[in-house]
């Protein structure tokens, strides 16, 4: 069974807030749900499938279904960090194709700027062997960047180009946290936070969220919005492999080919790409593993503005991405999908809109690239 053309993203909403000290996390989820339903032209009572991940408060779909009084016949709470929401689109498409639901609601929301992080679970088996060493998101990704530089000669200047491209896009987004255009020199002059990553190699921390509506073809045809078809999806995980550690590649090496094969398209066909950008190195490794360039050539690929819309070959993260715009709940997956939907609808900011954008890719990484992570790839097509 394929999901190709069996489900459509018909609603997308990115919460405008970037700091929400006066709201609860459940409230933010519900505000995002309301926004996505309004965007699709549907109501709460149309929703029969609900999908959320670890950012949802309480017992995930149980608590949120009650908060919003959803009456459901299908739920899914797959949680692999920031990649969850791309997986959830795929799972929603699978559920719709199997007849388990016809209007799927996916929500993400969180308040990392306004509340303390939840304590991690000390019973996770890797915890005794990592936590005492001060493992964190930042140094786990820095270890990948360090090894990539060693193996392939990647430079800090090349990584900086990814941030530069994101900043060129963010200047047009009134909601973006960082709207100043920066240069390679600016990135290199920012403080070294975890060798070889500088502060400007890192994404923002923001409160907020987003939501998506995925529907059956029948429901999609009844709505007025442009139809964005899910034509390919892949997912995988990668870890330390029993101590046979290899930091030079990510699970995108598995998820990407699955998605491309299902969609029946190639990298050269992709007009716009949303690439998870927790750090600049995240983007570089995913571009290589998704096959947009050869392994080790990511540095050359991203340099000289190749990711800037209207300038380079592969416009990416035209909302400013996690590096400049928004990284709600420390999970950027859903904003990756939302900006891809905007591009395919022709609703991105005119300064960054890709002309006649019919085919886009969205990719997410969840967890820590330097230890264990999930990867999820979606290929989306506008259909009239």
């Amino acid at each position: 069974m394929t999901i190709k053309n069996r489900a459509y993203i018909m609603g997308a909403y990115e919460h405008p807030t970037r700091k929400a000290p006066d709201k609860s996390t459940a409230q933010l989820h519900a505000e995002c749900a309301r926004g996505a339903l309004a965007d699709a032209g549907l109501t709460k009572d149309d929703v029969d499938g609900y999908f959320c991940a670890g950012d949802a408060p309480g017992m995930g779909p149980l608590s949120m279904a009650e908060y919003m009084d959803l009456r459901l016949r299908h739920v899914d709470a797959t949680d692999i960090g920031g990649s969850s929401y791309l997986m959830l689109v795929s799972h929603a498409a699978q559920a719709i194709a199997a007849g388990k639901c016809s209007v799927a609601l996916i929500t993400l929301a969180g308040r990392p700027r306004s509340e303390k992080p939840r304590a991690p679970n000390p019973m996770q088996p890797e915890a005794p062997w990592e936590w005492p060493y001060g493992i964190a998101t930042l140094n786990a990704y820095a270890l990948c960047a360090q090894r990539h530089m060693y193996e392939y000669g990647t430079t800090s200047e090349q990584l900086a180009w990814i941030k530069v491209a994101a900043s060129h896009h963010a200047q047009h987004n009134p909601h973006a946290m960082l709207r100043d255009v920066v240069t390679v020199q600016d990135v290199l002059a920012s403080p070294m936070v975890a060798d070889p990553l500088h502060r400007m190699d890192c994404c923002v921390v923001s409160d907020g969220g987003g939501a998506l509506i995925v529907t059956s073809p029948e429901v999609a045809r009844s709505l007025k919005r442009p139809r964005v078809s899910v034509i390919g999806a892949g997912e995988s995980v990668k870890h330390t492999m029993g101590g046979r550690v290899d930091l030079t590649y990510s699970a995108a090496r598995v998820s990407g080919p699955i998605a491309f094969a299902e969609a029946g398209v190639t990298q050269a066909d992709i007009q716009y790409a949303s690439i998870y950008d927790s750090f600049t190195i995240t983007v570089l490794m995913q571009l290589e593993d998704l096959g947009f360039c050869e392994k080790g050539q990511g540095g050359r690929f991203v340099a000289d503005g190749n990711l800037i819309s209207g300038v380079g070959r592969l416009p990416f993260n035209t909302d400013g991405g996690g590096l400049c715009n928004n990284h709600p709940a420390n999970r950027g997956g859903i904003t990756k999908i939302i900006e891809a939907v905007r591009q395919l609808r022709g609703e991105a900011h005119p300064a960054v809109q890709v002309p006649n954008c019919n085919l886009a890719l969205a990719h997410g990484t969840g967890g820590l690239l330097g230890t264990r992570h999930g990867s999820a790839t979606l290929i989306l097509e506008r259909q009239s």
Binding site: P122, M123, P125, E126, A127, P128, W129, E130, W131, P132, Y133, G134, I135, A136, L138, N139, A142, L143, C144, Q146, R147, Y150, P191, M192, V193, A194, D195, P196, L197, T240, M241, G242, G243, R244, V245, L247, G370, T371
Partner: protein, 127 residues
């Protein structure tokens, strides 16, 4: 410079013996009785073939596979992956090495670090 405080190890029934041996200065890996491969982190069940495993001492020498320095902390610290000689690659911190000297391929050897409750954690220092 502020001294970094290392939290006490999390001891589980599966790995209790590792920490007892560490207290005596012995560094143990798990080796599979079926496929004979050693792995990291230590598990009762071999991740390669799901066979049973036994403890085996390792000399604790290896090379740095990757490293980083967390510079924003009150007490900046270095950590990374060490590829053990004829063994798995493991995460650890680096002690007694000037940050400027850290590089991939550098020889390192085991150096036990004290934690808050007196238990020992494996760290690595210049070899």
């Amino acid at each position: 410079m502020t001294q970094r405080i290392i939290s006490a190890p999390i001891v589980t029934p599966e790995t209790e013996h590792f920490w007892q041996a560490a207290q005596q200065g012995r560094f143990l890996l798990r080796r599979c009785t079926a496929c004979h491969e050693t792995h990291w982190y230590p598990r009762a069940i071999c991740p390669f073939c799901l066979g049973d495993t036994v403890w085996q001492e390792h000399p604790g020498a290896g090379t740095i596979y990757s490293w980083t320095v967390m510079r924003r902390e009150a007490a900046p610290f270095a950590m990374g992956y060490v590829a053990l000689d004829d063994g798995p690659t493991m995460l650890a911190d680096f002690t007694g090495i000037e940050f400027d000297r850290l590089k991939i391929g550098m020889r390192v050897k085991l150096a036990w670090s004290d934690t808050v409750n007196g238990a020992k954690m494996p760290s690595f220092t210049g070899g």
